[in-house]
């Protein structure tokens, strides 16, 4: 399993499309399975691909990790991908509508969580604490996915947050929470899981939460349909579900 920088990846994809026989003639470790996956799946899919390759040594998984929208665009422009895993249903739906996939399966879901520094010094128990002026509260900026979704959740809960900073992205927000400079912020459960022990997650009730669904599909024009089927079957297996769950995803 290798992660290839995107420009190189695209060049390879282009060359592979021009001369499909070349791939077969090289004495590679196994049949290549090209998986296009949303960037938020990076850690989980790296681990899933490694386990899959250990189970099925005849396959060699290549991950192309990027924003779901760019992956969708690449697929619609004819990139020779085998599998598409998207961070939302809208990009997957567009791929299906364009006939690039016939159906998709829900791989996992990702829920919002309140991130607090280890030990929860602000004593944050729920979204209502975001109105407490004495706490230092951070959100992602508007226009950034985590910022828009966090505001949706606060809106559903009817909380007017006393925000102290609007961070440019989820990493920047988590850095300040990790350092204990902020008392709370809203991020995805997977982001909390990826940050380790210095950040704790406080659950947001389902009725005010905003859930992202991650669908996965075998692509209609997959150069390696057998490998694609095998990978998708593995991605929804118990072994892969355990990996997803360890990385903070909720399972359907």
């Amino acid at each position: 399993m290798k992660q290839t920088p995107r420009p190189v990846m695209l060049l390879m994809a282009f060359l592979a499309a021009l001369a499909p026989s070349c791939g077969a003639s090289t004495p590679a470790a196994g049949e290549q399975v090209l998986v296009f996956a949303a960037a938020s799946l990076t850690h989980a899919f790296t681990s899933i691909a490694t386990t899959f390759e250990a189970n099925r040594p005849e396959f060699d998984v290549q991950l192309n990790l990027a924003a779901s929208s760019s992956l969708r665009q690449q697929i619609l422009e004819g990139a020779p991908a085998d599998v598409f895993a998207s961070a939302n249903t809208s990009n997957m739906d567009q791929v299906i509508e364009a006939g690039e996939a016939s159906t998709s399966t829900t791989l996992a879901t990702n829920v919002l969580q309140i991130a607090v520094p280890a030990g929860n010094p602000g004593g944050v128990t729920g979204l209502s604490d975001f109105a407490r002026a004495e706490l230092l509260i951070g959100l992602c900026a508007e226009g950034v996915p985590c910022g828009d979704l966090g505001r949706q959740a606060l809106g559903k809960a009817g909380v007017v947050a006393a925000v102290d900073t609007n961070e440019p992205d989820v990493r920047a927000l988590l850095v300040k929470i990790e350092a204990g400079e902020l008392d709370a912020g809203i991020v995805y459960a997977t982001d909390v899981a990826a940050t380790g022990d210095r950040v704790e997650g406080v659950d947001i009730p389902a009725d005010v939460n905003v859930v992202a669904t991650y669908p996965i599909a075998v692509l209609a024009n997959a150069p390696n349909p057998r490998g694609a089927d095998a990978f998708v079957a593995f991605a929804v297996s118990d072994q892969a579900r355990a990996i997803l769950s360890r990385h903070g995803f909720s399972l359907p």
């Binding site: 900026a141 226009g143 950034v144 102290d164 961070e167 920047a172 350092a179």
Partner: protein
């Protein structure tokens, strides 16, 4: 005809100039001119402009107040480790500002090495406040002042100060009446460079002081955030920055900083 450049020089110079002019052309081409007045009076724009002017000027004043003495000590007082000190002072010039901001956070933040005791003793909290913005600005901008003033001090003919001293002037008087006036143009240039750097400061500010409209969101931060959601506002904010900076830089260049 005297200063007509050789053709290769003219071509290369034009390419150099184009590199600076083209982005401006791009900005002007995408400017929503018909909506400009409305966008300019938007709250995000006016808040950011006010905050940027206040914090960049404050940072320039602080840089002058503590940077000139620092430059003087570095230029005149031989002490062990002086080259190391010089390196440390100029470090913010080469460090990515985000690194500087993170380092400031670890030092002066609420849980920082110095920030935590400071906060417990006095209740002062620099991050997420206008003081945090000014601190970050001073950190990245002051080196410009220090290196400009230090090099001016080192190139100064010491006989003028010696003459003043021999006529009975005390050290303080010499500094005030001889040294500072003689390095005046360099000091001014250093202040202007610091101010310009502070006005454009982004990475250290957003990392150390956060981003909140009206409190810590300066023009560069507002541009960055608006690019995600509202491109016309982002362009308007950029135009404001260009206009303010060009006015000051062109206006001052001829008057004060011929030294550079």
């Amino acid at each position: 005809m005297r200063n007509r450049p050789p053709l290769p020089l003219a071509i290369l110079a034009s390419i150099g100039l184009l590199l600076f002019v083209l982005p401006l052309v791009g900005l002007l081409a995408r400017t929503p001119w018909t909506r400009l007045v409305g966008l300019l009076s938007g709250e995000v724009v006016t808040d950011a402009l006010r905050l940027s002017l206040v914090t960049s000027l404050a940072a320039t004043a602080v840089s002058g107040l503590i940077g000139v003495p620092l430059a003087w000590v570095m230029a005149r007082v031989p002490f062990p480790g002086r080259s190391l000190v010089r390196g440390i002072v100029t470090l913010p010039l080469v460090l990515p500002p985000v690194v500087g901001g993170a380092a400031l956070l670890f030092a002066l933040g609420r849980r920082g090495v110095v920030g935590e005791p400071l906060n417990q003793a006095t209740g002062i909290l620099l991050p997420f406040s206008i003081w945090g913005v000014i601190t970050a600005n001073v950190f990245v901008a002051m080196p410009f002042l220090v290196i400009t003033v230090e090099s001016a001090l080192r190139n100064l003919d010491l006989r003028f100060e010696a003459a003043a001293a021999s006529l009975g002037a005390g050290r303080w008087t010499v500094l005030r009446r001889v040294t500072l006036p003689m390095i005046g143009p360099s000091l001014m240039a250093g202040l202007v460079l610091s101010w310009a750097r502070a006005l454009g400061e982004f990475g250290a500010t957003i990392t150390f002081a956060g981003n909140l409209q009206g409190r810590t969101q300066t023009l560069p931060l507002a541009v960055f955030v608006a690019l995600e959601s509202d491109r016309d506002t982002a362009i308007t904010l950029s135009l404001v920055m260009v206009a303010v900076s060009l006015t000051v830089l062109v206006g001052l260049r001829d008057r004060w900083w011929k030294a550079l």
